[in-house]
Symmetry: C2
Subunit: 120 residues, 2 copies
Amino acid sequence: MATNSDEVEWRSVCPISSALDVLGDKWSLLIIRDLLIHGTRTYSQFLGSPEHIATNILASRLSLLVCLKLVERTHPDAIARNNAFRLTESGAALRPVLKGLGRWAQEHLKEFHTGIIGIS
Amino acid sequence: MATNSDEVEWRSVCPISSALDVLGDKWSLLIIRDLLIHGTRTYSQFLGSPEHIATNILASRLSLLVCLKLVERTHPDAIARNNAFRLTESGAALRPVLKGLGRWAQEHLKEFHTGIIGIS
């Protein structure tokens, strides 16, 4: 798993593929969701989300998102665990993608996941 | 990696999380992209895409997408390798998500991936 922008393997020049080279995993867009929708800011708040992200995955994903300028530290000189995070303009620009995924799931996954709720 | 809808681990009741439980990997949305944008239909055509998906990943992802009714076999009784695939209405409904990811990458990843091209 890439933790630095230099480590991202760009599989092709296709923009959809490139977006997935960065965001194509189960966690990155959930971190963006937490920052964008739930007001999550700190490590402990991320760890408290209902999907129970593991600490090492959270650290590596946040590190990559910071390198790619989707997320920034509110206190850049402090160590990661004592820090808070916020979305940059680039990260916040993913709002339509998240909304689209949520709407799609509500309409097309209810047959398989009956507990699914509406987007808050 | 789940290959059957019964094997999907739904991490929470959030629709965004649920969409990522199914589509949160580097390949599933590329398979949808190929079917939706590039007219890809057969195993050999998928394997010929520039991102070079591995055969076993293609097989497992297609199997899950068929189980979840995002993709269907054009000849359901034939074995997978001799088959062709097409999107269902649920799969085609991911078009806005793919477009959103592509547009986002064009605007926000060019600094890191200078080869990135426009969406065809």
